[in-house]
């Protein structure tokens, strides 16, 4: 091929670059359009129909499913539970994560060993871990009640009683997520310049003042990030709930039912795919609102 004239070449270089870019993007864009974006709209569309396996019998029902949601007591239960999980789990996870990170930041020896131990549960499969906990928390033969009895505490029903089940599931989820929070907080703490503390100390600041006026504000972005990741995680809670009580998923008496599990049951046990799609739209709206709040909070960044 003959090299083109310089003037032409400039134009063709820009065009060539764009052509390369589109060649790079072709498959991924097709993926995002057909596997990620189109199905989201399809869920919206499906929510307007009653689902039947036979495609010719899928009547349009308009907003009926959304009206149905207002009357659905199980959905209300799932929403209340999901809210309870989030309000209980996220602060607990943040506080414990911050606490452990502060402890780790105060020591020098074995820090990496501790960090690895706290992080290990985060990488393990939640489904299998849930089975381990349901064995440990078994009311009659569980090791946890055995340990409690050493301290004179009577055996607890844990997952088998509605009044304790949700809190127990929350603890297990927090146990598994904690390491992630610890690692993020520890990195955040180590990013804070030492001079800040030294300068404040020379000015006579107490330990609490150091924490209150240096550590806490400078850790704010990490905390917002962890809180949002944690919230989204708890709003989508599914695997642990299913496996902790496999024969009565969401039980006892619906006390651990979550929104994601309810969606799964409506879609794949009752096969009401249209109604399930409508509930996913609700979940989407909830998560979107929280993401928007996050963006607002994150835009108030603290300057280093």
């Amino acid at each position: 091929m003959k090299p083109p004239e310089p003037a032409q070449r400039r134009v063709s270089l820009a065009t060539r670059e764009a052509l390369w870019a589109f060649a790079f993007l072709a498959i991924p864009l097709a993926f995002f359009l057909f596997i990620r974006i189109w199905p989201a709209f399809q869920a919206l569309w499906l929510s307007l129909f009653d689902w039947h396996a036979d495609p010719s019998k899928r009547p349009f029902v308009g907003l009926e499913h959304y009206e149905q949601m207002l009357q659905d007591r199980l959905l209300l239960k799932a929403l209340q539970n999901t809210l309870a999980y989030t309000l209980l789990g996220v602060p607990l996870q943040l506080l414990l994560g911050l606490g452990i990170a502060l402890l780790l930041n105060a020591v020098t020896r074995f820090r990496d060993v501790f960090r690895a131990i706290y992080f290990a549960p985060y990488v393990t499969p939640a489904a299998a871990i849930a089975w381990v906990f349901s064995w440990m928390l078994s009311p009659n033969f569980g090791i946890v009640n055995e340990i409690l009895s050493v301290f004179g505490i009577p055996p607890q029903p844990f997952l088998t009683k509605p009044s304790q089940a949700l809190a127990t599931v929350t603890m297990i989820v927090v146990w598994q997520n904690l390491g992630f929070q610890v690692v993020l907080f520890l990195a955040g703490l180590q990013n804070i310049p030492r001079d800040y503390y030294e300068a404040a100390r020379i000015d006579g600041a107490s330990n609490w003042q150091l924490f209150r006026h240096i550590t806490f504000p400078l850790l704010n972005p990490v905390m917002v990030f962890s809180a949002v990741i944690g919230t989204i995680g708890f709003l989508q809670l599914f695997t642990q709930v299913v496996n902790l009580n496999f024969t009565d998923q969401g039980g006892p008496l619906g006390s651990t039912l979550t929104l994601a599990l309810y969606i799964y049951q409506v879609a794949f046990a009752r096969f009401e795919l249209g109604y399930a799609a409508a509930i996913t739209v609700l979940l989407f709206v909830i998560i979107l609102s929280i993401t928007l709040v996050q963006l607002r909070l994150l835009s108030r960044r603290v300057e280093y």
């Binding site: 993926f31 989201a40 020591v107 299998a128 989508q236 794949f268």
Partner: protein
């Protein structure tokens, strides 16, 4: 005073570590006990046995589930690493019309929860005959929007002069990407690769929906359904759980530094 507080800190940290690590220990110890022993609550197995493992490995399709998980997580990871870098590179280093729009479009998919997509994916899989196949298991994850975002961040830090040098040497744009840019973002690739692999290895919701027969299950689904049928044979359930958990823990022990640094890299920077 100082010594006392250091002692207290270590005491608290050790107590916490026990809480974090004990479930793994109890899982493993129970998995070594014969059925008659599990309700006795003695800590150590009196007559330790590998029978539980034998039963899980040879009387279920566990080896097949392991292979399935390996195939699904492995292919997904390779695909994510390649395509996400390709897109990240294009978005960071190439000029083309519609770039901003495409980036926003990809990022916007992060806001859609998986629950919303699984129903259309299920409909799609039944229509196209993808259910109960490897492709059905892995198609939702072959490219990750978060990974695109991450890779773009890293490619942006590469000096353009370096890439221009390659162009002057006559490399095609793909050559510049593959031979020069790609090897330079190795830390980001390692982090993204590890998390994609673990995420897919541990995934539960979609495999539960798309798999119909026992031979196509992944480890988490296989272990869950096996355990639900095992009744009170907690020794067997704990052997199955151990087989699911211990390989991941071993990998974690070997790569813990890289994995934890990967969290920091993706979490704090990304």
């Amino acid at each position: 005073m100082k010594r006392l507080s250091t002692f207290l800190i270590y005491a608290l940290l050790i107590l916490g570590s026990l809480v974090m690590f004990f479930p793994f220990v109890w899982m493993f110890l129970t998995s070594l006990k014969p059925f008659a022993e599990i309700f006795e609550l003695k800590v150590w197995p009196q007559a330790p046995t590998l029978d539980n493992y034998r039963e899980v490995l040879f009387k279920t399709q566990f080896p097949r589930w392991f292979l399935n998980s390996l195939i699904v997580a492995g292919i997904t990871t390779l695909s994510v690493l390649f395509f996400d870098s390709l897109v990240g590179y294009a978005l960071a280093k190439l000029r083309f019309p519609g770039k901003g729009l495409i980036f926003v479009l990809i990022l916007s998919t992060l806001m859609v929860p998986t629950e919303m997509l699984v129903i259309p994916w299920y409909v799609m899989s039944t229509e196209y005959g993808w259910s109960n196949t490897y492709w059905g298991l892995l198609f939702p994850g072959v490219i990750s929007a978060f990974g695109v975002f991450l890779m773009r961040q890293f490619f942006e830090t590469l000096p353009t002069d370096l890439l221009d040098a390659g162009r002057i040497d006559g490399l095609s744009e793909f050559g510049v990407f593959w031979r020069i840019a790609f090897p330079l973002v190795r830390p980001a690739l390692a982090a993204l690769g590890i998390f994609t692999f673990l995420g897919n290895w541990n995934a539960f919701l979609w495999p539960l929906i798309v798999v119909q027969t026992a031979d196509m299950r992944t480890i988490p689904v296989g272990v869950a359904l096996f355990s639900s049928e095992a009744g009170t044979a907690w020794n067997l359930i704990m052997a199955a759980s151990s087989l699911a958990v211990l390989p991941v823990l071993l990998v974690f022990l070997f790569f813990q530094r890289q994995i934890i640094e990967g969290v920091v890299l993706t979490g704090v920077k990304g």
